[in-house]
Every structure is written in structure tokens, then in C-alpha cells.
Symmetry: C2
Subunit: 203 residues, 2 copies
């Protein structure tokens, strides 16, 4: 499609936008033409905001969350319980859990999940640093907040073998029917597992 | 949502992406995190490609199409018929018509459509320059390739009054049932108009 554009800058912009996941070439053209209709200061400001992703995003030395300096606001917050570490795959998971407003511990962002299919092994992830954190703390709780698919379970099992030890409590997110969900909407795997993992009723 | 981001650069990028039409804040976060996972050269190249929309896109002095210099490749192409001018609303319409491979004339990009509701009047559009082009040519054909809604018809009527004259043939795109479409899928307005504007059958 690119060679059809009479402006190389427009063609390059469309090609760049279309490289984003889930954005087709027609949407990319629509977005590029939308930008082009803006005053040029706005376009420049837009491009600079994206460019700063390359230069101004830092990662927390402790938990590997994105932040502005060496330490993220969560690790720096003395009111958070640094002996409870929630292990997640990505930055997005931290934002999702923070959005619940329910969690007062800290995080550890692995930066991915073990996936032999995609060639991602334990050494590609922030696993050694988790092991060090856990060892340094001595007694702590580590919560596995990983996805429920094969990769997530493989990663959880691998982490368990690396960090299990005296004083280390290891938990995982509860799984079951969604809260408020009726039985008729649950898939049979979820329903079967929920039955198997049934809990004492608390009246 | 912005204040929740532990990195200001990430928050700014998400906000910028979410300002695009049709992109919600969740998609914006997904796209920003996708970019963030790329090597920083790629992020910078991406941002520069968008930034060049502000600086490197020029407009053809004749037809106002986007291009790289003073004249677009279509106006510069001596094989195109410069006495047939297709009047369109936007850059995107030129790309759509070029994609058909059926048109050998030139274009005139109005840069919008007359819309009293949105406060866009004739003086906001490239109408005076169209009038000059038509006058300079003397005899020519002007094709109105505008949308079929009220704004499109208002604009066509206004243009007609400005450019009509001796030697100026004015035509408009054929409207009717889509080629290959069955009657059962046509809306009743289109079907009614197609009946009214019926054509001699050519066996």
C-alpha cells in the first residue's frame, strides 16, 4: 500500500501506525489523516510523548515496574507491606491489581512468562532477582498472580521450585466462578474446577 | 486514569494515544505497552515517523493533495488529463479513487465540506482556487465526487453556482444499487433513487 502515497512522510506514518498490534492499514490511514489535520505543534507534541517511551521510562530496581527514577512509588511507599510480594507477568497486571485498591503489598514484574513455544526461558525473566529478594527477606509471602494457562502454570511451578523454603509462604490467586456469575454462563472447565476447589461455607 | 501511572512518560504516551479517535484508554495502554516492549531505536523511529507529519508533509499547489514537494505526482504526470478535474472532500478520497485504477484525470481536494452545523463555510475550503483553475482551463470537465448526504449536496450545489459557465461540463458520480448487489439488501432510499434514475439498458 505504501507506494501509493504521494507523500513519503504520510506513507511512513501509516506504515508505523499499522505496525501496532490490532491496527489494520485502513485504520492506520484514518489515524494518520486525523493527526495530519491537527495543528503541527499538536502533532509534534504527540510524537514527542511517544518518543519519550524510549528515553524517559525507567524500571524500578527492586520490582522492575516502570517508573520515573530508580525506585517505583509502590516500593518507595513505607505504608506498603514489603514482606508480601505479588508476582505478575507484566506492567499491565500491576495496574490492574492497583485498580482494585485491595492490595497493600509490593510487586515483582517478571517481564514475561516461561514459554518454550516462543523461546522464552527462565533466564529471560526477572527470576534471579525475585529469588534474591525472597532470600534477603527471610520470611515473607509470595503471591503468584499469573495467568491460568499452561505457560502461567509452568512459570508458577518453576518459581515455586526456585523460591520455596523455610518461612516463605507461597499462595496463588483464587480461581473459580466470577463473583456474581450464574452457573449457566460458566464454561465447564471453570465449573468443574470450582467444584473441585470448593470452599467451606462462611455464613 | 493518568495519575495512576507510576511513570509519567508512560502516562503521557497513553494519554496521547487515547486522544486518537476510536481509541479507548484500555487500547491506548495496550498499544503504549506494546511500544515499550520494543527496542528503544524502534520506539524512536516510530515517534519520528509520526513527528514528520508535522514537518515533512506538503500540499500540492494545484490540487492540494498531500505530497513531498510543491506539486503532487498526479498533477506532475503528463499522461494524466489535466482538463478533467475530480473534486473530492479529502486526501483519503483521492487514495480511494486512485485505488480503483480507473481514473486518468486530476483532482481538487477541497479539504472539507460545507457544514453550517460544524461552522465550515465556503471560505474555509479550497473553492476559490478551484474557480481559478476552471477559469484558466476554459473548457474542461469537473466531476463532483462528494458524499451523498446533505453537506455533500449543499457543497455540490454551491460549487456548481461558482464554476458553471461556457465550456465547463459538470458531472457527478453515478449513484444507485452497488454493482453485484441484490435488491433485498438495498435500503429503500437507494432503491427508490435507483428506480427514478434508471438508465437505458445496454445489451
Amino acid at each position: 500500500m505504501k507506494e501509493n502515497f504521494p507523500s513519503r512522510a504520510l506513507g511512513d506514518a501509516v506504515e508505523a501506525i499499522a505496525s501496532l498490534p490490532g491496527v489494520g492499514s485502513r485504520s492506520a490511514l484514518r489515524l494518520a489523516l486525523h493527526l495530519l489535520r491537527q495543528p503541527s505543534e499538536n502533532i509534534s507534541r504527540f510524537a514527542e510523548a511517544l518518543g519519550r517511551l524510549a528515553t524517559d521510562v525507567h524500571y524500578c530496581k527492586t520490582c522492575h515496574m516502570v517508573c520515573d527514577g530508580d525506585q517505583c512509588p509502590i516500593c518507595a511507599d513505607a505504608r506498603r507491606d514489603s514482606r508480601t510480594i505479588c508476582v505478575v507477568e507484566s506492567v499491565r497486571d500491576v495496574l490492574s491489581i492497583e485498580a482494585t485498591g485491595q492490595y497493600r503489598g509490593v510487586y515483582h514484574v517478571l517481564g514475561g512468562i516461561i514459554s518454550p513455544m516462543e523461546g522464552i526461558g527462565p533466564s529471560d525473566l526477572e527470576i534471579a532477582s525475585l529469588e534474591e529478594r525472597v532470600k534477603a527477606l527471610g520470611s515473607c509471602e509470595v503471591i503468584f498472580a499469573l495467568s491460568g494457562d499452561v505457560e502461567g502454570e509452568t512459570t508458577a511451578f518453576y518459581l515455586y521450585r526456585r523460591i520455596a523454603g523455610e518461612g516463605v509462604k507461597i499462595t496463588t490467586l483464587a480461581r473459580g466462578l466470577g463473583f456474581g456469575d450464574g452457573l449457566e454462563y460458566a464454561d465447564s472447565l471453570t465449573l468443574g474446577r470450582s467444584l473441585e476447589a470448593r470452599q467451606p461455607f462462611k455464613p
